[in-house]
């Protein structure tokens, strides 16, 4: 009976402690600065265009094949506004497939993609695909919320 009593005392004591759970959608536990959610594309404010040139290296390395990237000639290069000869034409990430592994961030040569804190993208469709505007917006939101510098040290380490 002694062990049972010991257990009862333990549960009795914890009963008076504050609960450790939170009411999820109303209340959230803070994310750590390095948290890796889904990837987003960064915006080069200086040239008013994305950093991404559409080189497809992330697409090739993506282990789940959830990315699709297309490249086009940069119209701003012709006018001399930008040094990027090529620019991303289309960039889609199937967020239902993305496993937030950060390989795309680490292989990117242009530091154009980053892991944002967005992670609540559960949806009703099996193919929840984010296109360019969403990806830019995700990155912008992330930047506004956390203020990580573009040159975060995690990139290019694979």
């Amino acid at each position: 009976m002694l062990g049972v009593l010991k257990g009862l005392v333990t549960t009795w004591k914890t009963h008076w402690r504050a609960p450790v759970t939170v009411q999820y959608p109303d209340e959230r536990l803070p994310l750590q600065p390095r948290y890796m959610g889904f990837p987003g594309l960064m915006w080069d404010a200086e040239h008013d265009e994305p950093f991404c040139t559409g080189c497809q290296v992330c697409m090739r390395y993506c282990p789940t094949g959830c990315m699709f990237v297309e490249m086009k000639d940069n119209p701003k290069f012709a006018t001399g506004e930008s040094k990027r000869r090529k620019i991303v034409a289309d960039f889609t990430i199937n967020l239902s497939r993305c496993i937030s592994c950060s390989i795309c961030v680490e292989v990117c040569n242009f530091e154009a993609i980053e892991m944002t804190h967005h992670h609540e993208r559960a949806g009703y469709y099996p193919d929840q695909v984010a296109g360019l505007p969403t990806l830019f917006q995700m990155s912008a939101d992330h930047r506004a919320g956390v203020g990580q510098k573009p040159g975060h040290e995690t990139r290019n380490l694979l």
Partner: protein, 203 residues
């Protein structure tokens, strides 16, 4: 992924990736496994094997400090029985059975360990016949080989003679391919591009 690389080569106009210093490679010489100093237990084991195994046809070498024996398939049962029962060897723990498809041949690798003498041994068997690789089962000596052999059988198509329960283990019963053969190609995952569904969301 190598073949995919060629399909999706970046267009030539892509800016070259910034050059990064590539650290010097390790100096050329013997393969990395033989550069590691030999463990004392492995040296003792090698001495014993040289004395006691003249009748088993084998080729020995040191790999990462441990001894590794390569032998033809016919010698396997005699060798493993001796490994298990010779008191100086006493390999009671079969750590791993791996099959490797080298395209021209198939190799089955046994990693052994002795709780008594604390030494490791790697046994390798090369099967030349890639179409119908056949090997004796070691389950009678080490029950631990049971699932390992079933797995190798379905993944690489090796037939283990005398295995008590040769059903497929991980794959469905009706899979007739051997996925871990080098000739088995993975389907390119992004062959079909999904349509864009921009979800109406708040961000």
């Amino acid at each position: 992924m190598a073949d995919l690389d060629e399909q999706s080569q970046p267009t030539p106009s892509e800016p070259a990736p910034p050059a990064r210093p590539v650290p010097a490679r390790a100096p050329a010489g013997p393969p990395p496994g033989e550069r590691t100093p030999v463990k004392p237990t492995a040296q003792a084991l090698a001495d014993h094997l040289a004395l006691a195994w003249p009748d088993v046809e084998h080729h020995a070498r040191f790999n990462f400090g441990d001894i590794e024996l390569t032998m033809p398939a016919g010698q396997l049962l005699a060798a493993v029985e001796r490994c298990r029962n010779d008191p100086a060897l006493a390999f009671d723990y079969l750590m791993c059975v791996s099959g490797v498809d080298y395209e021209t041949s198939i190799e089955v690798v046994y990693h052994l360990y002795s709780y008594q003498h604390h030494h490791h041994l790697t046994l390798k068997v090369t099967l030349a016949d890639c179409d119908r690789p056949t090997l004796d089962s070691v389950t009678a000596i080490w029950p631990a080989a049971d699932w390992h052999e079933r797995e190798a059988a379905e993944m690489l198509g090796i037939t283990f003679l005398g295995h008590p329960d040769p059903r497929p283990l991980l794959l469905d019963d009706d899979v007739d391919e051997h996925p871990l053969r080098r000739s088995h190609q993975l389907v390119a995952v992004y062959a079909d591009r999904p349509g864009i569904v921009e979800e109406p969301d708040d961000d």
